[in-house]
Amino acid sequence: MIAILGLVIGLAAGLVIEPEVPDSMEPYLPIAVVAALDATFGALRAYLDDIFDDKVFVVSFLSNVIIAALIVYLGDKLGVGSQLSTGVVVVLGIRIFSNVAAIRRHIFHA
């Protein structure tokens, strides 16, 4: 419950404050979002598996976001930024899909 509340607060705060992001950070935002979504769905699945842990979630969330952004940053510097972004999105997407599938099985017992 408190988690959903936090999500809503975050969305609302972003809409209200409309923070300015430096142009240099802009390319990494979408990747960071996908990485954060991956961590969050993993956390939800762990919660339903009854093995959720606060600390593990926060650590995986932060490391996911930072590493995804770093990989894309490195790719930009090496001239393969878009290819690396695609690779990161593909891997994270597969993880999200398989986590969501597990969550679905939990909820519907199917």
Binding site: I2, A3, I9, L11, G14, A36, G42, A46, D53, V58
Partner: protein, 286 residues
Amino acid sequence: MIARPPFGRRPADRHTPSSWDLLEQVSATSLDEDYGKVAARRGDRGVGPRRRPQVFAAVALVALGLLITITALQTRSAGPVDAQERSTLVRQIHDREADISRIASRSDQLESEVEGLQGTAEQIGSRGEELLDSLDDARLMSGAVAVEGPGVRIVADNESGGSTSSGGTILDLDLQVLVNGLWQAGAEAVSINGNRLGSLSAIRTAGRAITVNYNSLTPPYVVTAIGDPDTLEATFADTPGGQAWFDLETNYGIQFEMDTVDELTLPAVPEERLEAQYAKRQGELP
């Protein structure tokens, strides 16, 4: 949730990840292993899953919400910029097209102008040629240039032996009459002893000699005239000048010899005898 090994693989391969397909590995490890490890550790210690308020998780989710909205806003605000750039480019294209059509019409205008000027230039050119031709003629006839052509050569001398007797000496008047007769007979250029006669040339006596163009002449006087070689000699004989000289020849012993020559060259009149100081052209050039 352990992924099934691909068909046809032996079960022994299951624990050697290198033989798994990459995608299957990704799906198989989609849940962070740490959750399982931490839970196992808790189970070992006999502690159940934590059920206290998940403050850190909430903070992380706030961060997620922020990230999502920021990204969405960024993407949305980038849209108008793109549209603006596109409309700017479209406007620039239209501007350039207008420039092109303006330049093209200007080019057409200049082209027709050039055609007009070319016509004028041709007119001026032909007029120039005309003027050059008439200048050529004028220089020829005024004696400004040396001329050549067929004509007659007259050699006249005083009575041989006695220059003291008044009768047998050629006077300036005699030469004037001679030249006048030649003009009358159709001569186009006349020179006496190499002194071409121009429009300002006078034949006169200065001291004891006859001068033409301020040059003193000494007998014999050689008068060359360019004109029709077939008629000049005969026509001259019919003129008063010709008759006067016939008279001089027969009555005063003056030597006079006239021959038709095919090729004569007459020099130009000296420049100082061609300059007009007071006479000015009246009206336009022809």
